[in-house]
């Protein structure tokens, strides 16, 4: 239909099985089908994605990105330049707390005094960790130490005994449970909150204003890719195995933990904001960076999540 493909720069997290839709869309040529020429920009965590959104327009390096809902929220509340909107959901569930396979660690209460790694502070997994701790009547402060590192390093660190456990996205959880690494699932995120929001697609307001057509195309592709995963589970699994260096067993187990979605569950998202505010002293609806007329989480989600592109799916 169009002669020259539209260029768009899409951020994603390196080796994140949650964002399989992005990998599938690339692999299957869905973007090309929509007439898009995609530059894929890898990031190590959602915070780094947000930092990229926050750079001045002239030097901003991404237009749209896959990232966790938590860093998107956290930055939106705390950084004046984080003017993004959430456009679609990517997955629910899919995180887990892996600890060393040791009888002394059985419940959330046993985490007191342990060294736990997270991919970034105030990201999705850090937030889930807070919820897990809450179940055991603990907070972050009760941990021996909370350490930030890339998910691939967590596996090395667990094997070397540098940490007692970690919380990450799949497939890094399942990778930590091999015999040599010696970890076990303590909680999956769905254990503490079934069908919690996780990764989303967000874009900067500047870009949404400037090029809504491209935004629509990206959402179209995301929808198509997500549907494709659900319809072609085994084929999707084999692509995941290849892209993320997994065995069939690992891929099966990891994907079982993830709910691939595209539509926004506004009720859950509102609950997310409530819990975030409750567990995080840094986050408040009073933030000077959001419009002053917003006073409740429902109002905020209404403002922050732009469902119009999903609604316009063809």
């Amino acid at each position: 239909e169009k002669s020259r493909p539209e260029s768009v720069r899409i951020g994603y997290l390196e080796g994140d099985l949650h964002q399989l839709a992005f990998y599938i869309a690339q692999e299957k040529g869905f973007y090309t089908d929509e007439g898009l020429n995609v530059t894929a920009v890898p990031f190590s965590n959602g915070g780094a994605v947000m930092a990229a959104f926050e750079t001045p327009p002239a030097t901003r390096s991404i237009d749209i990105s896959y990232l966790g809902f938590a860093p998107a929220l956290y930055h939106r509340f705390n950084n004046p330049a984080a003017n993004i909107k959430v456009l679609a959901s990517v997955n629910v569930n899919g995180s887990a707390l892996i600890v060393r396979d040791d009888d002394s660690i059985q419940t959330a209460a046993d985490l007191a005094g342990l060294k736990i790694a997270v991919p970034a502070r105030h990201n999705m997994q850090d937030f889930i960790l807070a919820m897990i701790l809450d179940q055991g009547g603990l907070t972050h402060d009760d941990l021996g130490e909370i350490i930030v590192m890339g998910p691939s390093d967590m596996i090395i660190a667990l094997q070397n005994g540098n940490i007692d456990g970690y919380i990450a996205w799949e497939p890094h959880n399942v990778k930590g449970t091999t015999v040599t690494i010696g970890g076990k699932y303590l909680y999956t995120s769905s254990d503490v909150w079934s069908n919690h929001p996780c990764c989303v697609i967000a874009s900067h307001e500047d870009f949404i204003d400037a090029d809504p057509e491209t935004v629509q195309k990206v959402i179209n592709v995301h929808y198509r890719a997500t549907e494709w995963i659900l319809d072609h589970w085994e084929e999707a699994k084999s692509i995941a195995m290849e892209k993320m260096n997994l065995s069939a067993e690992q891929a099966t187990e990891a994907m079982a933990n993830i709910g691939y979605v595209y539509s926004n569950d506004l009720t859950q998202m509102t609950a997310f904001v409530d819990k975030l505010v409750e567990l995080n002293p840094d986050v408040s609806l009073d933030s000077e960076y959001i419009p002053s007329e917003i006073t409740t989480s429902t109002q905020f989600i209404d403002y922050f999540v732009d469902g119009s592109y999903l609604a316009a799916l063809d």
Partner: protein, 279 residues
């Protein structure tokens, strides 16, 4: 009267110097503030992304006492310094003897030096991934990376020192009855001390650079360190904290330089004065 006018002149000169320093500092703050304005107003349409110098100073003092995730700025910078110290220490105790041995033995020189020359061009930072997968995320990894960075300057300086140390000193010592061991201890060693000091200084600089890179990549699961801190603050979007961390780095760097200058002034009191200096 003569003396008084002299002391007057001295204190005047002192005041002038101080004035210039102050002026320089003001220019510095001015340039910084201008930069912030350009970035915020010019490039970000008035959104306050970068904090003002004043905010950074305020945050800096706040962070000296306030703990974030259990550590304040001093804890972080202390952890970084410790890593550097350890790595440099290893480099010293391996680099100096190796430099002296390879520098004085043509056989070792021929066999070992080409091997070292092959390893030298790999920057220490390129060893970070390797260190992580072999030594895990702990002090072993971080000090290994710093060791790699610190080793070559120390080794090379010791080596050069031995090579260039004047044959004549050894001759004279021999004429005065010194044995080989005497010469090694009483001539070679003191003669290469300036070189070793230079090597140490460079090593500290490189080590300081490496530790920040390594910490940014999360090489050590214990206290993050100042490099970890500033990268972390970037990721969570707290740029005032990030810049306060950079300020801390600058201050510690200045401190290290100052200490080295004092050490040099004492240990090298027998060397002729350098030409330049004086601010």
């Amino acid at each position: 009267m003569e003396i008084e006018s002299l002391s007057n002149r001295k204190s005047t000169q002192y005041l002038i110097k101080l004035g210039y320093l102050l002026l320089s500092f003001l220019v510095f703050i001015g340039v910084w503030a201008l930069f912030v304005v350009i970035i915020n107003e010019g490039m970000n349409n008035g959104i306050r992304v970068l904090p003002s110098p004043f905010e950074v100073f305020q945050t800096f003092f706040h962070l000296l006492v306030t703990r974030i995730d259990g550590n304040n700025l001093l804890d972080h910078v202390g952890a970084s310094l410790f890593r550097v110290l350890l790595g440099v220490l290893y480099a010293f105790f391996i680099g100096v003897p190796l430099g002296v041995i390879i520098g004085s033995s043509p056989l070792f020189d021929r066999i070992l030096r080409p091997m070292l020359e092959l390893l030298r061009p790999i920057p220490p930072i390129a060893w970070i991934p390797m260190a992580i997968i072999t030594f895990g995320l702990g002090i072993l990894s971080s000090s290994f990376v710093i060791f790699v960075g610190a080793f070559f300057p120390i080794f090379q300086n010791a080596y050069d020192g031995v090579h260039r140390s004047n044959q004549v000193y050894a001759d004279v010592a021999r004429s005065l009855g010194a044995t080989k061991v005497d010469i090694a201890l009483e001539i070679t060693l003191p003669a290469i001390i300036p070189n070793i000091l230079t090597g140490l200084k460079v090593s500290f600089g490189v080590g300081w650079m490496c530790v920040i890179a390594a910490e940014m990549m999360g090489i050590d699961v214990n206290i993050g360190g100042i490099g970890y801190f500033i990268n972390y603050m970037k990721d969570v979007g707290n740029y005032a904290n990030m810049m306060a961390g950079m300020l801390m780095i600058a201050i510690v760097g200045l401190g290290i330089n100052g200490i080295f200058e004092l050490i040099e002034r004492y240990i090298l009191r027998w060397t002729p004065k350098k030409q330049t200096e004086e601010v």
